[in-house]
Each structure stands twice: as structure tokens, then as C-alpha cells.
């Protein structure tokens, strides 16, 4: 198994773990960490699979995509942290799971 496959498969694993965490964890900080897992996973997949060129020189397009993706992920992380912090300062809580009172019906 070549190294790029290892990167890609680990990327897939990270992504799946992130997805699981994002769904299961009610606390926002956990969710934010999970999304960063997912992001890193995708970037690994992109970089790993971008290394399969016959010439051996990595494909620059996935690299550019990863660079763009990193900036976007950083921005998203900043926003979610800001929301989490604000929510915490308003309610003293960090978990945003559904509660009985808002389940109108």
C-alpha cells in the first residue's frame, strides 16, 4: 500500500470520527473540535489522493483547494467559537441539544 493511500484512508477515518462526534456530542466545544476533525480528514484525503501523479510532482489543484479550505475552516471555527462563547455567557451552558420546552407540538 502506497503512502498516499495511507493518508487518504486516515483522512477518511478522521472524517468519520468527526462526523460521529458532531452528531453525538451535545456540547458546542466538542462539536467544534469534531468539525475540525472532519476538516483535517478531508484535507488529508485531498492531499493524499493528489499525490498519485505519474510525474511524482503533487497535483497543485488539490493543494490550492486545501489552502482555501483551511482558511474557510479557520473562519468557521472562529464564528462557532464566538457563538459558543456568547451562548455560554447568556445561559451558562454550552450544550445545544433539543430541550423539552422548545419541542412545541
Amino acid at each position: 500500500m502506497s503512502s498516499h493511500l495511507v493518508y487518504a484512508l486516515v483522512g477518511g477515518l478522521l472524517f468519520s470520527i468527526g462526523t460521529y462526534g458532531l452528531i453525538v456530542r451535545p456540547h458546542m466545544i466538542h462539536k467544534i473540535i469534531s468539525t475540525n476533525f472532519m476538516g483535517s480528514g478531508v484535507f488529508l484525503v485531498l492531499i493524499g489522493l493528489g499525490n498519485r501523479t505519474p510525474s511524482g510532482v503533487p497535483d497543485p489543484v488539490p493543494q490550492a483547494m486545501v489552502l482555501t479550505g483551511i482558511v474557510v475552516t479557520v473562519a468557521l471555527t472562529a464564528l462557532s467559537l464566538a457563538i459558543a462563547k456568547r451562548y455560554f455567557s447568556l445561559t451558562g451552558r454550552g450544550d445545544i441539544s433539543e430541550h423539552r420546552e422548545e419541542r412545541v407540538g
Binding site: G12, S16, Y20, L49, G50, R52, V61, A75, A78, A82
Partner: protein, 229 residues
């Protein structure tokens, strides 16, 4: 709902595992070699005299992505500001930096600025550019903030707004400039490409750095009632 129902852990677990299986299967099914767009990128970049292919993709072939990415960054800054009641309080984050931090700050900041400048300068040809430079500037700003420096009185909120948005504004302006020459959006004229990119990168560095510092301070500083403009 999900976290109360019996077996509620099962669905996410199955989702995660299924996802992994799906992705693994897909990755393993790929052929061992694939050129993607790399050959085309290399050839076209060489034809146009651009030495760094990643830079060529980022700033030329997919420069539009980068423009929108700057928009994302500025948008997030605006969004984080909208979550606060005050804009950019001048209150320092820490009152009294220790002697070590103070000395370190005084030593490191000029070096950081130099590094940032270098990144900008080489941006159009080698790895580097506005994001890296901006990150360094941002780090410098955060370091200053943590060391007890606050923004000078003569820098008002409006000045900060300008710094934050100048990068995007100029990028938009430069993107539209070729249209006035009868070209397409973002189609820099070959002779002035280097200069235009340098202008964009320099101003973007400022804005990105300011954004990162603002994001940090906006989220970090304590809430101050009624301090607005």
C-alpha cells in the same frame, strides 16, 4: 431527542462506520495513478511565465475562489462583531505583562513584521502570500494584545473598519479593473500582473491580520455595556 432515546448512540455510530466504509471503498477503487489537472496547470503556468504552480492555481486559474475566500474571512469578522454589543473595546486584555513577555514582545514583533513583508513580496512566485503574511501579522497583533498593549486612541473604530475591509475592496477593484480594459473579470494584463498582485497581497495582508486580531479580541474581551462608537 436523539440523546435520550434508547439506542440513540447507534444511529450516529452506524453513520460514522458506514461513512468510513463507503469512503474506504471509494479510495481503494481509485487507480494508482492519475494526473488530474496537474499537467495542464504546469503547461499553462509555464506558458504564462508563472513559476510556482500552486500560486498559479490560487491567484490565477482559481483566483475567483480566493476572492470569495477573502469574502468569507471578512464575512466572519462582521458576523463575530454582530455577536457583540461593543465594537472593538480599547480595553487591554491583560493589565501588566511580565518582564519576560514584555521583552519578548519587543524583540519578536519587528521580526514578525519583517517575515510578513517577505511573505508578501515572494507571494506571486513562491510559497507565501497574503494568508501566511496575514497570519504572522495576526499573531503579532495578538501578542501585542496579550502583552497589555491596546489600540492607540487615534485609531478609531472607523479606521479599523477601513483596515478590515480595504483588502476586499481593493481585491474587488483590481478584479474589475481588467473589465474596463475589455478583458474578463480577474484577467490581469500580463505586464502589470506582478504589480497588481503585489498591491492586492499587501492590502490583503493588512486586512487578514486585522481580521484575525479582531476575531481574537472580539471573542476574548469581556463584555462592556454601552461602549459604542
Amino acid at each position: 431527542m436523539r440523546d435520550r432515546l434508547p439506542g440513540s448512540q447507534l444511529i450516529p455510530l452506524v453513520t460514522g462506520a458506514g461513512l468510513f466504509a463507503l469512503v474506504t471503498r471509494a479510495i481503494l477503487s481509485l487507480p494508482g495513478e492519475s494526473a488530474g489537472l496537474s499537467v495542464r496547470v504546469t503547461e499553462t503556468a509555464a506558458e504564462n511565465g508563472i513559476s510556482n504552480v500552486v500560486t498559479a492555481v490560487l491567484l490565477d486559474f482559481r483566483g475567483y475562489d480566493t476572492l470569495l475566500e477573502i469574502a468569507v474571512l471578512m464575512l466572519v469578522t462582521v458576523a463575530v462583531f454582530s455577536l457583540r454589543e461593543t465594537t472593538m473595546s480599547p480595553t487591554p486584555l491583560s493589565e501588566r505583562p511580565g518582564p519576560v513577555l514584555g521583552a519578548l514582545t519587543r524583540t519578536v514583533i519587528p521580526v514578525m513584521l519583517l517575515v510578513a513583508g517577505h511573505f508578501v513580496w515572494i507571494g506571486s512566485s513562491r510559497p507565501g502570500g497574503a494568508f501566511q503574511a496575514g497570519a504572522v501579522i495576526g499573531a503579532a497583533g495578538i501578542l501585542l494584545a496579550l502583552s497589555g498593549y491596546s489600540r492607540p486612541k487615534w485609531v478609531g473604530p472607523r479606521a479599523i473598519s477601513w483596515v478590515l475591509s480595504i483588502g476586499l475592496l481593493v481585491f474587488v477593484g483590481v478584479a474589475v479593473y481588467p473589465v474596463l480594459l475589455g478583458e474578463e473579470l480577474l484577467q490581469y494584463p500580463a505586464e502589470s500582473r506582478k504589480a497588481l498582485i503585489l498591491v492586492i497581497e499587501a492590502l490583503l495582508t493588512l486586512s487578514i491580520g486585522a481580521s484575525l486580531v479582531s476575531l481574537f479580541i472580539a471573542s476574548a474581551s469581556p463584555r462592556v455595556q454601552g461602549d459604542r462608537e
